[in-house]
Amino acid sequence: MAEQILLRAEGVRKSFGALEVLKGIDLEVRQGQVVSLIGASGSGKTTFLRCVNMLEEHDAGDILLDGEPIGYRMDGSRRRRLSEAKVSAQRARIGMVFQSFNLFPHLTAEENVMLGLTKVLGKSKAEAREIAGHWLGKVGLEARRGHYPYQLSGGQQQRVAIARAVAMDPRLLLFDEVTSALDPELVAEVLGVMKALAESGMTMLVVSHEMLFVRDVSHHVVFMDEGKVAQSGAPSEVFDRPDSERLQKFLGRFHGIFSGGG
């Protein structure tokens, strides 16, 4: 593959107290690719995603974005944590969409999208409003720009959250089980927006239990098990030739979906 590596993780470890959640994760995301993390709950997918955006601090190993370590710099052989301002600047280059939407309830849909544009990227209000309008249009919600989050359905809120993340023009977008909190009939509209984003060439790292979507959209699928990468490869490899009993068992739970969908 010719695309350059955008995100590289090497030996990433993370413990919460005595519990080691990540036991040395190696992973690459190339420019323009969609990489999906699958696995049972508790396997460390979400924790890894949160480390990439420094919502959690990893204990060991490296996470490099465009070759630059995330969250710290090397001083000789010692790691030094970056200042709050530098960490914020790094985060601005990585978008994140959450399971629970986390829209700002005191701001309208448009203001939610505009906040980062004006306060982080320093754009004028007029310019920010135009960009917000563009992205709210892309997710099919331009008519709702003046609505507050509580006036929107879960699916609409999540689409605003996607617009808020992508409007920042990030290098990489992280999706953390973004359809898990939605009613089943609202899942498709959010996955549709994500698929369109993937097709437009956005680099995405996705944690999801929507196996049909993962199989359909991903360039690369990573199966995580007990804090390690157990198998990774093209969707066809992972889904059709699972090489471990754990993966077979995990995929077996979605068997009904695949026999129906093909």
């Binding site: 955006n53 914020s88 959450f98 700002f104 309830p105 005191h106 906040l115 306060k119 982080v120 920042m168």
Partner: protein, 224 residues
């Protein structure tokens, strides 16, 4: 009417009008200053309680716990007479405002801490994810939501402050209660004039409560 007949209520009320007005203005001024000072300092101290570097947080916690545990009257007497012993002479009115503010600051701070911590953690995370720095996350995301939550207890603190200004009469500040006492000492119309004072306090506090209710309606879009 009885405006010209001494001993009637209307006559005595007319006679006392300037005393009452002076009392009301002292009460309003002391309350207003205290509410503003306690709000500003309370928000600062509350932010330290919620997010401060731990030694600062410890100091803030110590302050809040000590001031909440001491009767306001003791604070007022200490500020006025106690500081005088160290050669610091503060006029009675200002001693009272300082003591009341110090007390109310502790309440506002504790309310703000609770309000800030009741904002879901996901809000801070979403604010981090778009690259906002810490002061920006506070100003644009957390505090606007926290302030809605602390409005009811804040109004309560405001009402307590107005009632607390009566204690300033002890150190000789002629606020509404002391001016009423002085009027009663002249005309002996105890029931009438204490009723007047009570009614005036009620009007002041009812207005504050209405203002609070209006603010709550103003922020009613804040739902989850």
């Amino acid at each position: 009417m009885g405006f010209t007949i001494p001993g009637t209520f209307t006559f005595e009320l007319w006679q006392a009008r300037f005393s009452l007005l002076r009392g009301i203005s002292a009460t309003l001024l002391a309350s207003g200053l205290t509410i503003v000072a306690a709000t500003v300092m309370g928000v600062l101290l509350g932010t330290i309680l919620a997010y401060g570097w731990w030694p600062l947080r410890l100091l803030a916690r110590l302050y809040v716990d000590i001031l909440r545990g001491i009767p306001v009257l003791v604070l007022i007497l200490f500020t006025y007479y106690g500081l005088a012993l160290f050669g610091i002479n503060v006029p009675a009115f200002w001693a009272g405002v300082i003591a009341l503010s110090a007390f109310a600051t502790a309440h506002v701070a504790e309310n703000l801490r609770g309000a800030v911590q009741s904002v879901p953690a996901g809000q801070m995370e979403a604010a981090k994810a778009i690259g906002l720095r810490f002061p920006q996350r506070l100003r644009y995301v957390v505090l606007p939501q926290a302030i809605r939550r602390m409005l009811p207890p804040w109004v309560n603190t405001g009402l307590e402050i107005v009632k607390g200004t009566t204690l300033l009469s002890v150190i000789g500040v002629v606020e509404l209660l002391l001016s009423t006492q002085q009027i009663v000492a002249r005309n002996y119309m105890i029931i009438d004039f204490y009723l007047v004072a009570g009614l005036l306090y009620l009007i002041i506090n009812f207005s504050i409560a209405q203002l609070g209710a209006a603010l709550e309606r103003r922020f009613s879009y804040l739902r989850y």
